[in-house]
């Protein structure tokens, strides 16, 4: 039996990250032999050795991610379009998947940089962290190019399993254990729901690939519809859309903050992209029914996310509910379902990456002495002690709130325009109304930072890797606030056009 020739180069991003994960794990094994960090070594030496190993591993995983991003961007520029898989297409490499791959790569890269000083600060500097992070990233690369229910499911499991472990990475902290357990149990149920939906879809249509499902759908049928609803529910869990969001606050709060940043950014991107591809490829004719369903999810997420965020006293919990709200905003684009809406959604995900990584980076910069400083009181008077940190935090929060002059405003603006064009007036009204509510909790932190006296006194320095991340995120937010559609430096790249090109390949 001859195997059909296939283009291995198409899988370069996935390959780089997967090999990177294996190499990182082996490096960890070789470097952390017991002579250096074993039982007999005194704690001081061990701590220093661990720190050095961590830097080496962070460098190795950054290299793998950068290579993968480079490959993805190269494929994007070439206009790569190929269905990959020996025999039958499991993955579709096109503008959407390469765009999402680069975006997820960026999120993973920034998360790695956040971890370099944060892990030692929490005394959880174990090399497996980077291997797990890379494995999860590989899963998301699979997810964003999946065109078959089988690759979708495997991608989702490869994404989730490492994150369950990462959420519980701080084993000494009860909340971290709780986060891992909760996320795992809820995730397992979501996987079961997803699988049930897939089984129904396969039973009703006789296909597992998205295009085959769309042909099978032509006959209509309630069985396929219930399968579809279950698949959407399973994916909605991953992107924390109401009513599948209950895990979000506990997991965001309990997980180490670098892990929270990683999953807030990358899993959301991967989940929304695969949902987008699934909806467009598998159900081109289902438009209206599905859009009502998605509209309901969007409205609920915006309302519950924003209202619950108001009453939180912990910054990470507040940001978790804010993540639910932002998932709701993105679902408005899904309910609209036009090419412009997909463009707006992708641009929103792009901007959301910088805002979210930035805001969690500030929380990380405050962590020290084996403890997080993440309650709202911990931020009191921060402006007088670390003015730059307070300033960028304010910028990120304003951007999350969508105040004009930040990239967050532009992202919301394009989303609203696309939704109005598609006639989703009710959802747009909810979006604008709940955004007003969100000002209250987003602006609470700046008020505390600038108006109150310093109560605690953390004297941690912002490390150089954190400064790089913060500067990059802040610069991106300011840049895209004004030049989303312009090209002031003549690079020939306009952010919105890139997102548009990615969205265009769906049709």
């Amino acid at each position: 039996m001859e195997a059909e020739a296939f283009d291995v180069a198409a899988l370069a991003p996935l390959g780089f990250v997967a090999i990177g994960a294996l190499v990182t794990l082996m490096l960890e094994v070789v470097l952390s032999r017991r002579a250096f960090v074993g039982e007999g070594v005194d704690p001081e030496t061990r701590l220093v050795a661990r720190a050095r190993i961590g830097i080496v591993l962070a460098f190795a995983s950054s290299a793998a991610i950068v290579l993968a991003m480079y490959a993805a961007i190269y494929q994007f520029e070439l206009g790569f379009e190929t269905a990959f898989g020996p025999g039958r297409p499991m993955l579709q490499l096109d503008a959407l998947s390469t765009f999402a791959t680069a975006l997820i790569g960026l999120g993973a890269l920034l998360s790695v940089w956040l971890s370099i000083t944060y892990l030692p600060a929490l005394r959880i500097n174990h090399g497996e962290y980077y291997a797990l992070l890379l494995l999860s990233t590989a899963g998301m690369f699979v997810l964003v190019s999946a065109v078959d229910l089988i690759s979708l499911y495997l991608g989702l499991e490869l994404t989730s399993l490492p994150i369950y472990a990462l959420a519980g990475f701080n084993r000494r902290r009860l909340r971290s254990n709780e986060a891992a357990l909760k996320y795992f149990l809820m995730g397992a149920v979501a996987s079961a729901v997803l699988l049930y939906g897939m089984a129904l879809l396969y039973g009703a249509t006789g296909h597992t690939d998205f295009t085959g499902i769309s042909q099978g759908f032509a006959g209509g049928g309630g069985l396929a519809l219930s399968g579809l609803a279950l698949v959407i529910a399973g994916l909605a869990f991953k992107v924390s859309v109401v009513p599948f969001h209950q895990w979000t606050p506990d997991v965001y709060e309990g997980a180490p903050t670098s892990v929270t940043a990683f999953m807030a950014v990358t899993v959301k991107t991967a989940g929304f992209v695969v949902l987008m591809r699934f909806l467009v490829l598998a159900l081109p004719e289902m438009g209206e029914k599905v859009s009502v369903l998605l509209g309901v999810l969007a409205g609920l997420s915006m309302l519950i996310g924003n209202l619950m965020a108001v009453v939180q006293d912990n910054v990470k919990r507040m940001l978790a509910y804010s993540a639910v709200a932002h998932a709701g905003y993105l679902m408005v684009g899904f309910a609209a379902g036009t090419p412009e809406a997909w463009t707006a959604v992708l641009f929103y995900l792009f901007v959301y990456l910088f805002m979210t990584v930035g805001v969690f980076c500030v929380v990380i910069a405050l962590a020290q002495g084996g403890r997080e400083w993440d309650s709202i009181e911990d931020f009191a008077g921060l402006a007088s002690q670390r003015p730059a940190l307070a300033a960028v935090m304010t910028l990120f929060l304003l951007s999350l709130a969508g105040i004009p002059g930040t990239a967050g405003f532009m992202a919301k603006f394009y989303l609203v325009v696309a939704a109005v064009d598609a006639g989703q007036i009710a959802l747009v009204l909810i979006l604008v109304g709940t955004s007003m509510v969100s000002f209250f909790y987003y602006l609470r932190l700046p008020v505390v930072m600038y108006m109150q006296k310093r109560r605690q006194d953390p004297d941690a320095e912002t490390s150089s890797s954190e400064i790089v991340v913060l500067a990059l995120c802040a610069a991106a937010i300011l840049y895209f606030a004004f030049f989303a559609q312009a090209d002031p430096f003549g690079t020939g790249v306009r952010a919105l056009d890139v997102a548009g090109r990615a969205a265009d390949f769906l049709h």
Binding site: M1, R46, P162, A165, G203
Partner: protein, 172 residues
């Protein structure tokens, strides 16, 4: 009703019954795990009826064997003094399980009968030669689904690392 249909309903009833029993009315938690074994074995029986012999064998080896043993280890690790759940908790569980499971099942059945799925039996005529045997499965896995097999390797690696990092007694 043919004998095969009779066997199918027998296995299906056994699977559902012991699944409900596991949550709802078994007194001791070890007995609940044993009830799960019955569900797993009944599912293996259904797989055999569907001509998926290899899957049936794997179901018994991996699920009824290895995974339930893992459950038992965890139960012993937790060391539940009162022998598991009290009657009140069991009653609540029963209500919840029957409520949720019943709703989903009835919903699916209603939707399925409305859409007329029961009037056709698409699987019986269209089985290719050697369906479900290890050869057909092996060829499909290592040609068309080769990429999926590689992904499974990565998933397994992730679970190894995750298990070691979370369950090892000393990590420093």
């Amino acid at each position: 009703m043919s004998f095969e249909m009779f066997l199918f309903y027998a296995f299906a009833f056994l699977a559902v019954f012991s699944a409900v029993a596991m949550i709802g009315f078994v007194r001791h938690i070890v007995a609940a795990a044993m009830s799960l074994v019955v569900t797993m074995v009944s599912l293996a029986g259904i797989y055999v009826l569907m001509h998926a012999e290899l899957i049936a064998a794997i179901q018994i080896l991996v699920y009824a064997g290895a995974i339930v043993v893992l459950f038992l280890f965890v139960i012993m690790l937790l060391d539940l003094r009162d022998g598991g759940l009290g009657p009140a908790a069991r009653g609540q569980n029963l209500v919840k399980a029957v409520g949720v499971g019943g709703t989903v099942t009835i919903g699916t059945l209603v939707v399925a009968s409305v859409s007329g799925v029961f009037s056709v039996n698409p699987l019986v005529e269209s089985l290719p030669e050697g369906f479900g045997e290890h050869r057909a499965l092996g060829i499909a896995l290592f040609t068309d689904y080769a990429l999926a097999v590689e992904l499974v390797g990565l998933v397994l690696l992730a679970s190894i690392v995750g298990a070691v990092i979370l369950a090892k007694r000393k990590i420093d």
